[in-house]
């Protein structure tokens, strides 16, 4: 069984924890997020015939009260950036965070999950912005923790990227 460390990264309230809550095995409570700053879950899935265990490090949201602990990123095989589609600012902040992550862990695979896709009427992130990021090589998925839409795909796509032969 192949194991991969994956980090969930995003500002507070974008729905990182909700995004994984319905799709992972968990033995720790959410209070670890506010105490230790991370909660570790596990997701086992099969990608293209290969079983992969994703050890998910759900990092506490980066905000005015709590900074992202970069040490938790050490050794991560990839990460999922999460932004709230109904709040443009979360994506802006996420770009700063991604820069710091890139600096800490290098060019490892990642996907961007624009969450709360079920609230399209309140959507703030424009299509142009998404296309722009896509053009930069970002892999972007619209997800909804409420309906589950796009969540499995986010994990699968990232796993596929992790298992792809390195150039």
């Amino acid at each position: 069984m192949i194991q991969k460390k994956i980090c969930m990264i995003g500002t507070s309230g974008v729905g990182k924890t909700s995004l994984v809550a319905r799709f992972v095995s968990s033995i720790f409570s959410d209070k670890y997020l506010t105490t230790v700053g991370v909660k570790i879950d596990k997701k086992v899935l099969t990608v293209d015939g290969t079983n992969v265990t994703l050890v998910l490090w759900d990092l506490a949201g980066d905000d005015d009260f709590q900074r992202l602990q970069l040490s938790y990123l050490r050794g991560t095989a990839g990460y999922i950036l999460v932004a709230d589609g109904t709040r443009q600012i979360t994506l802006d902040q996420l770009l700063d965070i991604q820069a710091r992550v890139m600096e800490a862990v290098g060019p490892v695979p990642f996907v961007l999950a624009l969450n709360k896709a079920d609230l399209q009427t309140q959507w703030e992130i424009g299509k142009e912005r998404i296309e722009q990021l896509t053009a930069q090589g970002w892999h972007i998925l619209l997800t909804s923790a409420k309906t589950g839409a796009g969540v499995e795909e986010a994990f699968s796509d990232l796993s596929r990227m992790l298992l792809a032969p390195k150039p």
Partner: protein, 698 residues
């Protein structure tokens, strides 16, 4: 140039020689092998002195070589190991026995000590097994889980645990352990290489043994000694030696680290509190063993005794008539149970239990009633129903009750009526039995059957019924006929009894026996039957000899009693004997008046015949022919015979029996005693009835 070369040779010639020699050593493979063979033993020796790193490094290769060799030529290893297999097995068995004894010591010590009792209470209170509590409380430390964690990725490379089912997901725990380390390092700015070496949570400690690429996290219960840390450190170093490359290039596939599982499992150490000193422990163990043995022997002895008592009890039950045990269960602690069949008259089982040494209160009997047919039960049933009187001897054999000796009649009567209704009794035999009759009961029965008339006294003694006083004949007759049917009455004494006859009843009995013709009147006076009137000869013939047989008739007196048949006989006889049939002179032809007289004779003769028959007489009639004195005697005799014959023929022609008649020719002679008659009177035939019945006067 040459000078330069010369100068170099002078200055560096020796070194160049050495370099050439060194080159030769490096390039010459054979020489290099020889060199290595010289230093290799020293190097191996040195390496062994340095914590056995060489051993660990060589281990995979040696293992692989051995595996291949065993697969290819196992017989070599069989031959090599054969001499040592026996000692190995013996030693292994000895070790096992030693461990068993130690375990027994510990168990005994924990079982019989105050501490052991406390632990038992704790086990009850917490719901854990006693063994678990013993282990926890007598434990110094125990390494319960070991994580091999990749430092870079924080992923779990390998996980071993004493109880794998009790642990949570090792991948997530490993991650969280790393996160905590990072958290601690970041929080206290301890530096990138700083390691959170240990932390304690309740009874658990987590010790971290860091390595370059991975670290061990050992979860320990209790207080582990410092040398465990050294062992952990050696293990992580060993893992790095064995799997250094795989650790450095780890990309997420942890399967390659399975081969170091034995190293990690070796770290699952434990230490328990030493028991009491060996001697003390042995004494305690022996005491405990002795106590246990004594206890077990006592229990076994008690069980054996108890089983013996129980078997004795069952034997007693089964031997007891009227009890049949069909099932039993002997319980030591609960009440024992006996099921079976019980005759209602069988003895109570509780005293049998007491006799066998058992407490009846600890027994449950479930009896179903049945009628036992064994001789004892049948006899009990018989004796309960029929109380055997003194003097009677009762024996029971094959269902036949034999009664001998003496017994009251009433008791026997009850037996005869009811004995065969008793289950188990098929017949009653009264051989050599003398019945005893109670005189009062006999008299009571007699008087019930024959109420005593006034003036009559009855007494009973030795089978004889004595009657006295005056009693009507009818009562006496009934007594005579029926009194002996009363059990006990064998004779009737009437010595003192005067029988009184009622004339009307006597006459009634007479009439009932003989009948009384209408023409006869009868009366009884002082025992004499007085008859008058007319009666047939047959009736009189019945009455005369038998009338006195009627009780109350001692004699017959006939007053003006006429025997009608005898009277008819005499009358007819007289008519016939006075009849005269006259003939014409000198002829055998009837005279007119003679023929008239003759024509009346057949009926009269028939009447006479009938009467004679009724009176029982046999008669004959002589036809006596006569002739007048005219003519010779011979002629007259002939004539008289012919005249008798003429009458005879006439009577026979009238249907009368010829044998009855006897024609006689008397000639002219007169009939003796007959007066001489005129001549005409002699030309006749007269008749004489002969052989009259003796009872009838001629």
């Amino acid at each position: 140039m040459e000078d330069f070369e010369e100068l170099r040779r002078l200055l560096l010639g020796r070194e160049q020689e050495q370099i050439r020699d060194l080159n030769s050593r490096i390039e010459d493979k054979e020489r290099r092998v020889r060199d290595v063979s010289v230093v290799l033993p020293h190097a191996v020796k040195l390496s062994l002195e340095r914590n056995g790193e060489l051993d660990r490094a060589l281990q995979p290769s040696v293992e692989n070589s051995l595996r291949i060799a065993i697969q290819k030529k196992p017989e070599i290893f069989v031959e090599a190991f054969h001499p040592i297999i026996g000692p190995i097995v013996r030693r292994s068995i000895a070790e096992s026995l030693r461990g068993l004894l130690q375990s027994l010591n510990q168990t005994l010590e924990n079982t019989f000590s105050w501490q052991g009792l406390k632990w038992r209470f704790e086990a009850l209170r917490t719901g854990k097994s006693f063994g678990e509590i013993v282990l926890l409380r007598s434990m110094v430390y125990r390494v319960e889980q070991i994580f091999l964690i990749h430092r870079e990725t924080s992923l779990s490379l390998l996980y071993v645990a004493r109880d794998p089912t009790a642990s949570k997901d090792s991948d997530m725990v490993a991650g969280m352990l790393s996160a905590i380390q990072d958290f601690a390092r970041d929080s206290f700015e301890a530096g990138a290489d700083a390691v959170l070496e240990e932390f304690r949570v309740g009874e658990l400690e987590v010790w971290i043994a860091p390595g370059r690429h991975a670290y061990l996290a050992a979860v320990i219960r209790g207080s582990a000694p410092r040398d465990l840390r050294l062992a952990l450190q050696e293990t992580i170093e060993s893992v790095h030696i064995l799997k250094g490359a795989e650790l450095a290039q780890f990309e997420g596939d942890s399967a390659v680290f399975e081969s170091v599982r034995p190293e990690l499992e070796a770290c699952l150490r434990a230490q328990y509190q030493p028991a009491a000193s060996s001697q003390s422990r042995q004494i305690k163990a022996w005491l405990a063993l002795a106590g246990t043995a004594t206890l077990l022997l006592s229990i076994a002895w008690m069980a054996w005794k108890s089983d013996g008592r129980w078997r004795d009890f069952l034997q007693r039950l089964n031997a007891e008539p009227g009890l049949a045990v069909t099932a039993n269960k002997h319980n030591w602690f609960l009440k024992s149970r006996v099921e079976g069949l019980r005759d209602p008259l069988a003895v109570d089982a509780a005293p049998l239990a007491v006799a066998a040494g058992l407490d009846p209160a600890r027994l449950i009997f479930q009896w179903k009633e049945y009628l036992a047919l064994d001789p004892v039960s049948v006899r009990r049933r018989f004796e309960k129903r029929f109380s055997v009187p003194a003097g009677s001897k009762v024996t029971l054999k094959n269902g036949v009750v034999e009664i001998a000796g003496t017994a009251p009649f009433e008791w026997i009567e009850q037996l005869r009526r009811e004995a065969l209704f008793v289950p188990g009794i098929s017949a009653l035999s009264e051989r050599d039995l003398t019945l005893l009759y109670d005189p009062a009961r006999v008299l009571e029965k007699f008087q019930a059957a024959f109420p005593l008339p006034a003036g009559v006294v009855a007494d009973f003694n030795s089978g004889s019924l004595a009657l006295s006083g005056r009693a009507p004949y009818e009562w006496v007759a009934a007594v005579r006929e029926g009194a002996k049917r009363i059990p006990g009455v064998t004779a009737i004494s009437e010595k003192e009894l005067e029988v009184v006859f009622d004339p009307a009843r006597v006459l009634s009995r007479f009439e009932a026996r003989f009948g009384l013709p209408e023409s006869v009147s009868a009366s009884v006076e002082e025992g004499i039957l007085i008859l008058s009137g007319e009666a047939s000869h047959a009736w009189l013939a019945r009455v005369r000899p038998a009338a006195t047989q009627i009780a109350g008739i001692s004699a017959i007196r006939e007053q003006s009693l006429v025997d009608l048949d005898e009277q008819t006989f005499r009358q007819s006889k007289s008519v016939i004997e006075t009849a005269l049939i006259y003939f014409l002179p000198n002829k055998e032809n009837f005279a007119t008046e003679g023929f008239v007289a003759l024509s009346r004779l057949p009926d009269e003769i028939r009447r006479l015949q009938t009467a004679a028959k009724r009176v029982g007489a046999t008669i004959g009639i002589e036809i006596r022919g006569s002739a007048d004195a005219v003519g010779s005697e011979a002629k007259n005799i002939d004539l008289s015979e012919r005249r008798a014959k003429a009458v005879f023929d006439f009577l026979v022609s009238c249907g009368l029996d010829a044998a009855m008649f006897k024609p006689l020719g008397l000639g002219a002679a007169l009939v003796p005693g007959e007066k001489a008659a005129p001549e005409q009177a002699n030309r006749r035939v007269a008749f004489r009835v002969v052989s009259p019945p003796s009872s009838v006067a001629p």
